[in-house]
Symmetry: C2
Subunit: 321 residues, 2 copies
């Protein structure tokens, strides 16, 4: 009975957006008007792995679970549609409705409808979100495997902020000015899926795209592998968020290496022909962000990272969050 009360409360906390939803939460399944292609991704966050209840509030957890799933939709250049939420709740956990509220606030801002879900009892808190995004046809989308030799490699926004924010939350980041501290912690707790930028870059001619969830180094390696190409990136070009350098040094880490290897920034890493450079910069600016050009696609396979002096470096010793 308490579980049914919780489900009722969750349903009351949610709203339908757009005109695709025919039936939603409350039947055996949601019914959504479909056309073109469905673009679907699932992301899961678990206590102890992706968050700790002592540093992450329930609304942060809900936000993050939906944000990571939406980030994959952004990286395809698709329009967000509906989210389906599985909550596995430990006995005595009281934050389920706040998790949903954190999600719903992001859903509202991104035009996403939370259209269904499941609530079960479990030994640990696990939140899994499947998002259906939509596009008119597959040709509008950008895959990971489209990078070609000679193209440029770019990234949106700023990097390293999420890792620095986590160091600060854990008390390992030293002292930074209060405004930077707040922005870095927020970057970690409330990552923002780059939906507008993803669609704009796709329309402006990005040839391959991936979201930066595991760190630029790891995600660039995946893009290279999917494309059958070699990527050469200069760490000196990484756009560090304000305060990242100080926090990294306080924690005994090299700022550029931290920014390259730490994840959860959810910026977009992409490739494009050199002739599309201006169009992509304008597209990013119109979507409220900017592009930093990190390097080149070359023939071959794998990834090479160059330090400030142009020497190859190896980040395999780094662990991502």
């Amino acid at each position: 009975v308490r579980e049914l009360d919780l489900i009722d409360a969750i349903q009351r906390a949610l709203a339908v957006r757009g005109d695709r939803v025919v039936r939603w939460s409350g039947d055996d399944a949601a019914v959504i008007r479909a056309e073109g292609v469905a673009v679907t991704s699932v992301d899961t966050v678990a206590e102890g792995t992706h968050f700790e209840l002592r540093t992450h509030g329930a609304e942060d957890i809900g936000h993050k679970a939906l944000a990571t799933a939406l980030s994959d939709i952004a990286a395809m250049g698709a329009e967000p549609g509906e989210a389906y939420v599985a909550l596995a709740l430990p006995a005595g956990f009281e934050g389920a409705l706040d998790i949903v509220r954190g999600m719903e606030a992001l859903a509202d801002r991104t035009g996403t409808t939370i259209a269904g879900g499941d609530v079960v009892r479990a030994g640990t808190l696990v939140v899994s979100v499947t998002v259906n995004g939509w596009a008119r046809d597959a040709g509008e989308l950008v895959e990971r495997g489209g990078a070609r030799p000679g193209e440029l490699v770019g990234v949106t926004g700023e990097l390293g902020g999420s890792a620095a924010g986590l160091l600060l939350l854990r008390g390992e980041g030293g002292e930074v000015d209060p405004a930077s501290r707040e922005a870095l912690v927020r970057r970690h707790l409330r990552p923002e899926p780059r939906l507008a930028a993803g669609r704009a870059l796709a329309a402006a001619g990005a040839s391959a795209m991936i979201d930066v969830s595991d760190g630029v180094a790891g995600d660039a390696a995946q893009l290279a592998r999917a494309s059958g190409a070699h990527l050469e990136l200069s760490l000196a070009e990484l756009p560090l968020q304000a305060g990242v350098a100080e926090v990294a040094r306080a924690a005994g880490a090299d700022p550029l290496e931290l920014a390259a290897s730490a994840g959860d920034d959810y910026e977009l890493l992409f490739t494009a022909a050199a002739g599309a450079r201006d169009a992509l910069e304008r597209a990013a600016a119109a979507a409220g962000t900017r592009v930093s050009w990190l390097g080149r696609v070359r023939s071959g396979t794998g990834l090479r990272l160059l330090d400030e002096r142009g020497r190859p470096i190896d980040l395999t010793g780094y662990e991502h969050a």
Copy 2:
């Protein structure tokens, strides 16, 4: 690195089915050709709540997680499409690939493609499956809320088998003949989503439908609530699976009450106008099952269960599995 190896092994264990899948596992998101309506449901099973590792093998867990999600698609009368799987795995758990193999065998038999997923580390084993089913238009589907006074209430197949199988697995079910034992245990470990029956009943005129996941009593109450109608069901008409009566009595339970209140049979409970009775029976037979008529829809609200002598009984003391 071990996680990437596991993901590679999972991808190699999966196959694409049908012609809807444009891009699947390996990119940021799957891309699926869409038309008509998407019918989406999410179901989650967690260790300690829905299964125990000492009685359920990894393949059973994978089968069950996908079966419960497909059962919701069946109850809408939709065609199964793609499944997205979130695996939260405790440290040291070695059964992840077997979970996927159990799922894939059912996916193969039902024409479902496992098109994406996520693998994370967590404190407990949790498996969450989101299924996208498809229909040409929403008018082909059957909702929970369509029952009208005067209509009949029917159920497919046989009930009580899953609860009896669980009692046997726990050593609380006494002795039954080996063939019944095997069938009951299998019914619990490998429930079968009634996809063909769901589509056939929808096409033959079912007015409302729900899958029997929480027990006929609980699911009938939900159907009544969604329809704004009253359901009156006779327990004497419940189609007990062979061996259920013996197992229930050995465990000190009334067989009909067990069958009405115990869940996980994943049969379909539905309503229909009396004039559609023959058509529904033929549709069920063509889909390889049969219909038992349990009672009537009346005006009013709520649910009334009648025992063998026509006296109302209350099952609120029963807990479902």
